[in-house]
Symmetry: C2
Subunit: 151 residues, 2 copies
């Protein structure tokens, strides 16, 4: 039996998409969603960075609050990068996100894992622990943006 | 002693702002933050609405996931509406948000309380409980938007 190309593609897309990315009514919503999540995350990463670099005083409670929001956001962003959501402008998302979905997802999963450790580190009430875990978490931002985000 | 008006205003703003809204580097960031949070929240409210109205099948686990995100977002949005963040465009935020900060905050606190109950209701694995709690939560959106959001 020959399967029409369009149907074969549709089937592949459906498998890769999963339930999460099927949830947006239109691609524009997916882009707006991921951009919103990323911006919120960036604000809280910035506040942790100010604390770990000594620009603002260390406060374990505030660090934990910020780390928890980073970890929450890390779980949300990826649904907005699902198949079919690549043709939206304005967007700094590179085409490789969609041509290398498995590799891209690995980045997402690493961020989720590292930001979960960040929350645990923030709760230890020890600035050195926070610094180490923050460095690991923030490293994900740079690695992934270098590969998948336009300048 | 006469206090210059500009200093008196600055002092009042600082008291009302609190630590949360002091965290944005510029008003544009506050607006982008609140708009991002509101959009993410709207997506998950929409998914719960689809479930409670029967447009998609009821699934307690998915309902709980969505409710938890709504409750998380309900806690975040308000910092972006702090004093000094009113002169940003494009924004649908009405000036009354800033001239009635105490009243506006009450709306925010009610949403936080109702969305916390929504999570609990979602976890009961009972569609009627979910429907009731969702109605209460979504009622906050309409009431507050009618009062504080431009058409």
């Amino acid at each position: 039996m020959r399967i029409p190309v369009s149907l074969a593609i549709a089937a592949t897309v459906a498998v890769m998409a999963g339930p999460a990315s099927a949830q947006f009514a239109k691609p524009e919503d997916a882009a707006k969603y991921r951009q919103g999540v990323m911006f919120v995350m960036s604000q809280h990463v910035g506040r942790l960075g100010a604390m770990t670099s000594g620009r603002v005083p260390y406060d374990a409670r505030v660090a934990t609050e910020n780390a928890e929001i980073v970890a929450d956001m890390a779980k949300l962003a990826w649904a907005g990068f699902g198949p079919g959501y690549d043709k939206v402008t304005p967007s700094r998302a590179k085409a490789e996100i969609w041509s290398e979905q498995a590799k891209f997802k690995e980045h997402g999963e690493k961020l989720i894992a590292d930001s979960t450790k960040l929350v645990a580190a923030a709760k230890t009430n020890n600035l050195d622990n926070l610094k180490a875990a923050f460095g690991a978490t923030a490293g994900n931002c740079k690695t992934c943006h270098d590969a998948y985000r336009r300048d």
